[in-house]
């Protein structure tokens, strides 16, 4: 931390780098952001446990829609991308730029697989009759997971730009490692949000015979 003699990188009052602190503040704020989205989804699940009605007028249950194998796979992929990101940051701290590039390529690749799974999932659900317009469930589900997907996409874009930037030779030293670490914090955050979404949106629907919310039939309010 002490290698920068420059006034711009002067030691801070707390010893925490500005960039790292501001990223944590952003993540603190993003907690409320995803908290709002997740609770919107959950409270509508609580009010309307009965799923949705597709275009043919059939009552559909979310349990029949979800594909837990696919979601588990993409969850696993995202967790492993987080692991690779941790290794990439570690490599930057050790000054091993080649190892950094290898790991970050892995993160980008896994991130793209996750996004691919999400595109597949959305298309599949759409063909099964769940749209953003035909039910509250569709609105909350697509907007929640879509917003998370947008976060992943921004992260992928960020890491791709960082990957190419590393070839200019300017990504180095303490500041370079810090830039990578900050990007890594963002990536891990996207991962932990998915940990919550995976449990709260997907897994709980499988509990008991009808999921934690029940089938809700007859609906409590119409």
């Amino acid at each position: 931390m002490s290698e920068t003699a420059d006034a711009h990188d002067a030691p801070t009052s707390t010893g925490i780098d500005h960039k790292k602190l501001i990223m944590w503040l952003f993540l603190a704020s993003d907690c409320m952001f995803f908290g709002t989205l997740i609770s919107t989804h959950l409270l509508y699940r609580k009010l309307y446990p009965s799923g949705f009605t597709d275009a043919e007028g059939h009552q559909r249950f979310i349990q029949n829609l979800f594909n837990i194998e696919l979601t588990s796979f993409s969850t696993f992929i995202l967790l492993m991308s987080s692991f690779l990101m941790a290794l990439a940051v570690s490599a930057m701290h050790k000054g091993e730029i080649k190892s950094f590039r290898r790991n970050v390529l892995g993160v980008i690749f896994f991130g793209l697989i996750f996004l691919g799974c999400q595109v597949f999932e959305f298309t599949h659900f759409y063909h099964q009759g769940l749209t953003i317009q035909n039910s509250v469930l569709g609105s909350t589900f697509y907007v929640l997971t879509g917003t998370h997907g947008t976060h992943v996409a921004i992260g992928v874009l960020w890491l791709i730009l960082m990957y190419f930037y590393s070839f200019t030779g300017k990504l180095r030293g303490h500041m370079g490692a810090l830039d990578v670490e900050v990007a890594g914090l963002y990536w891990h955050f996207v991962d932990i949000v998915w940990i919550i979404i995976f449990t709260a949106v997907y897994l709980v629907e499988y509990l008991g015979p009808n999921g934690i919310w029940g089938t809700g039939l007859p609906a409590a309010i119409k």
Partner: protein, 113 residues
């Protein structure tokens, strides 16, 4: 950029990074195992309340493991941990309250009249 930033990292630093590296691998394995256990758990014929409790604990465990090790909070200054945990607590409290407020029971006609 001052020249010292190009200098090789010190020996202790490398030992520490290597130690972290092993932590990361162990953690990645644990994350995979817990995720696998979660998927198995939801299909087991045990009472819903028990499954829900265990699921919540596992999910919270994964969550905190990632922020502590992958996101370096266990190595960094405590302030960062406080900032994040405070925001997390506020989020949890606010939206638990919101979820509780949206109860079907409250729409019972006896409160509306």
């Amino acid at each position: 950029m001052s020249s010292s930033s190009e200098a090789a990292p010190s020996q202790e630093f490398l030992i520490e990074e290597t130690r972290r590296y092993h932590h990361f691998i162990t953690l990645a394995l644990w994350l995979a195992v817990v995720t696998g256990a979660e998927i198995v758990l939801i299909f087991l014929p045990i009472p819903m309340a028990a499954v829900l409790t265990v699921l919540s604990l596992m999910s919270a465990g994964k969550f905190f493991a990632v922020i502590l090790w992958f996101m370096h909070l266990i190595y960094d200054k405590r302030l960062l941990l406080w900032i994040f945990v405070a925001a997390l607590a506020l989020t949890f409290a606010t939206f638990s309250a919101l979820l509780a407020l949206f109860s079907v029971d409250l729409l019972d006609p006896k409160w509306i009249s």
